[in-house]
């Protein structure tokens, strides 16, 4: 008997004319690990919420949802709460109590589980997810990745049979995301828990799943074994961008043989596909582009900048040295705690380094009178773009900034009457960018501009940034999205323990690295985009 059987489910939100879901059918067997993917706004979240009765949105619903052969509506509230678990996208928003142990026990307390049983289950999940060290701590002291692991542990402590996750890694950095995904995979492999996870980053997740479900405009367009589904996606589909780099290269090269789902499989496939096994590093000879002209006055320059939060603390920035040339997009990469956000805050003048000089367009920060720095055109977009929003609608947000929608280099007319918090992540990013552009910056500072965005939205943001550069804007962004940096930036730098350890043009930057690099670059060294990789490999194969 399938654990979840959705039959011809249609759903229309109250007060909306068009249905959000149309005749959705899907079936999960016990022990399945299914990934649901599709563009933002295709109805993934609506579908997932309908499957968890407590979270079901208001509206009219047709069709049937059967959980273990029983209609979801007829489950007792206790069964519904305990047997179907749900993990949300933002780690912070689902935390209820002020201690990790209490968070793990919260669901069990609600169910009235006897104390002895509760102690066993809390101990089990804390160990399974490696939370022993954090047990007594406040959740707010944990990193984003640990928080999300705690949320997962808190839900699995209730021992659900079906676990639903709504883009759980969208807000995490790549390493934390991989860590989280392997915890989910372990849960699936070791306990046989059935998993249904919405994801738009398939790079690290797809090879762990045994089901891939594609959604588009409220319909399920394909479902089944990931390799078959990947092969069946039509060329040029918007969903293509979400696939792992190896899969995209495989499709670009004619989709012969077994479809690779991760970098390891991709390398194996390429080595079989290429007639001769050329040594990777010798394939590409990178030409150093020396600039003979005198360098222009940097838009931003850091000279021997050091910063720490307290006198006793460690330096977060250590004699940092770098120049940002006018009109370039510079991407700073680095792991958590490498000082990325601190660097940006120092550049925005939000924090003062204890030594060193920061110059904007040749003038020192001190020479700008308080507040006038921003009038000289330095603006920063924060990582959590929601913190920019103060008004109940996008229209008022724009009015508040003294901006008309027509002036923007992108179109947000269709969003004007919505509440900023109701927008999707990508839409919020655009409105936030609009607010930032309203102060007419010459130097734009971006903190994780693609956090939580799917492939097509990342493409849109990339387009916008390139357009701004064309107009002469200088852009400094910090990101852990190596692929985005590789495709968008003119130069990239790797920040490690407060110093820039490597700065180079993306092709060179990612070709050199073997660990901190993009999946495309791992498969075809010296290449940054999938299209480049496909061309290079074709050329090498002599086609």
């Amino acid at each position: 008997m399938p654990i979840l059987d959705v039959q011809n489910l249609s759903f229309t939100y109250a007060g909306v004319a068009r249905p959000t879901l149309r005749e959705v059918s899907l079936c999960l067997q016990p022990g399945d690990f299914a990934i649901l993917t599709g563009e933002t706004g295709c109805g993934k979240t609506t579908l997932l919420r309908l499957l968890k009765r407590e979270l079901a949105p208001q509206g009219t619903q047709e069709g049937a949802i059967l959980f273990q052969g029983q209609s979801l509506a007829t489950l007792s509230s206790r069964e519904s709460a305990a047997r179907i678990g749900f993990v949300f996208q933002r780690p912070e928003e689902q935390i209820v109590t002020d201690r990790v142990w209490h968070e793990l026990a919260f669901g069990l307390e609600n169910l009235g589980i006897p104390e002895k049983e509760m102690r066993r289950r809390v101990a089990e999940v804390a160990q399974f997810f490696g939370l022993e060290d954090s047990f007594d701590r406040h959740p707010d002291q944990l990193s984003g990745g640990k928080k999300q692991l705690m949320n997962l542990a808190a839900v699995t402590a209730m021992e659900p049979e079906l676990l639903i996750l709504d883009e759980p890694t969208a807000r995490l950095d790549p390493i934390a995301a991989r860590n989280f995904l392997s915890a989910v995979e372990r849960l699936n492999r070791e306990t046989g828990m059935t998993i249904l996870m919405a994801e738009h980053r398939l790079e690290d997740s797809l090879s762990r799943a045994n089901q891939l479900i594609l959604m588009d405009k409220g319909r399920i367009t394909a479902a089944g074994e990931p390799r078959q589904v990947c092969a069946a996606i039509p060329q040029g589909s918007a969903l293509e961008g979400a696939l792992p780099a190896a899969t995209r290269i495989w499709r670009g090269l004619g989709a012969a043989g077994e479809c690779p789902l991760n970098t390891g499989e991709g390398r194996a496939w390429i080595s079989k596909w290429l007639p001769k096994h050329g040594e990777a590093s010798e394939r590409q000879k990178l030409e150093e582009q020396k600039n003979a002209k005198a360098p222009p006055v940097p838009a931003l320059s850091f000279h021997q900048v050091s910063f720490r939060f307290s006198r006793e603390g460690q330096d977060v920035l250590r004699s940092l040295e770098f120049d940002l040339l006018p009109g370039e997009i510079f991407g700073i990469l680095g792991g958590n705690g490498s000082g990325k956000s601190t660097l940006l805050r120092a550049a925005a003048g939000l924090i003062k380094p204890y030594s060193g000089r920061i110059r904007f367009f040749g003038k020192e920060q001190k020479e700008y009178r308080h507040g006038t720095l921003r009038h000289e055109g330095v603006a920063m977009m924060p990582q959590d773009v929601q913190t920019l929003f103060l008004r109940p609608s996008v229209r008022e947000e724009l009015k508040d900034s003294g901006l008309r929608a027509e002036e923007l280099p992108f179109d947000i007319h269709h969003l004007l009457d919505q509440h900023p918090y109701d927008l999707s992540g990508g839409e919020q990013q655009l409105v936030g960018l609009a607010k930032v552009l309203a102060v007419k910056p010459r130097l734009l500072l971006l903190d994780e501009p693609t956090g939580g965005l799917d492939a097509s939205w990342r493409g849109k943001i990339q387009e916008v940034l390139r357009g701004l550069r064309q107009e002469g804007m200088t852009i400094l962004m910090v990101t852990h999205d190596a692929e985005f940096a590789a495709e968008t930036a003119d130069r990239c730098g790797l920040l490690f323990r407060g110093r820039l350890e490597a700065v180079d043009e993306p092709h060179a930057f990612f070709a050199r690295g073997s660990y901190y690099t993009t999946p495309v670059s791992r498969l075809a060294p010296g290449c940054v985009t999938v299209a480049e990789a496909v061309q290079t490999l074709k050329r090498e194969a002599g086609q």
Binding site: S77, F88, G112, P114, H138, L350, A379, L388, L445
Partner: protein, 292 residues
């Protein structure tokens, strides 16, 4: 963590109450003095350094009370001298000092109590009384720092765009109002998602159980029963009139017969239990380490 602190918070609460009640409900130089001195010793041990400044504060309370009481309280039949044609009596002076010792002892033990009990421990005790209140407290305790952090982020977001100017008070106020606006929106949104998260995990389904971080152990029963028993004996002795002072109109000291002396000694033992346990624990660790 000390030997008293590692006991169940409920047992610790009972112990502190058993010390405080006899001190408070008998204006008695012996119990108040014992309480003050043992409390001072315990504070020294818990603070980890000699708390000279705090001692001075408590001494100040004793002296202050000793001065204030005879100035306003003219009961007592042994006048020492007259102030504004009112008698300043020996009884009122002594009473004031004892009262000061009593207050200082109560404060010093409360201070020790707070040093031992963090929010987790207090919540454990609270949740015994009311699981609902303890959950609300736990949520509130999480929310306060969360709000503060969100406010800081909202301020930085606006400052990063140069939308907050701080040249004069009016600008500063406008900035604060903007941020407050944003915080209200954020709070409402966050409230909805939080409610979702709670119902999704089965909140409001009826009878809750609770996860206890500190299980009750045999030693906790021993501590609770011991302190309660000793306190009852002391209060009983007071009720029987074996111990206790009477102040007005004339100072009457207790007779100091065997049951009375035993009750006082019992109180000394009760007060010294915590500092003695701390000292014993320290000596034990020293011995254990020197044996390694």
């Amino acid at each position: 963590m000390g030997p008293v602190q590692s006991r169940h918070p409920g047992a610790v609460c009972v112990y502190f109450l058993c010390v405080l009640l006899p001190v408070i409900f008998g204006i008695d130089p012996l119990t108040a003095g014992t309480g003050l001195l043992s409390g001072a010793l315990l504070l020294w041990l818990l603070a980890g350094h000699f708390p000279g400044k705090e001692y001075l504060g408590y001494l100040g309370i004793v002296l202050f009370s000793g001065v204030i009481n005879p100035m306003f309280n003219h009961n007592g039949e042994t006048p020492l001298f007259f102030l504004n044609s009112n008698p300043v009596t020996r009884e009122a002076l002594l009473y004031g000092w004892v009262m000061g010792m009593l207050i200082a002892a109560a404060l010093i033990w409360s201070r020790c109590f707070l040093l031992m009990m963090d929010t987790d421990r207090l919540l454990t005790v609270m949740s015994r009384l009311s699981p609902k209140v303890s959950l609300i407290l736990s949520m509130a305790l999480r929310y306060v720092p969360l709000l503060r952090r969100q406010a800081r982020m909202a301020r930085e977001a606006q400052a990063g765009l140069g939308l907050i100017r701080e040249e004069n008070g009016l600008d500063r106020m406008k900035g604060a109002v903007r941020i407050f606006d944003g915080m209200v929106t954020w709070g409402l949104e966050n409230g909805i998602t939080l409610a979702d998260s709670m119902t999704a995990r089965g909140y409001g389904m009826g009878k809750r159980t609770r996860y206890v971080l500190y299980p009750w152990e045999g030693q906790d029963t021993l501590l609770t029963a011991g302190s309660l028993g000793m306190m009852l004996i002391i209060l009983g002795a007071k009720w029987m009139g074996w111990i206790g002072y009477s102040w007005y109109p004339r100072l009457v000291t207790p007779a100091f017969r065997l049951p009375g002396i035993a009750a006082y000694l019992l109180f000394v033992a009760l007060c010294l239990a915590a500092p003695a346990l701390e000292l014993w624990d320290r000596a034990r660790w020293k011995r254990l380490i020197s044996q390694v």
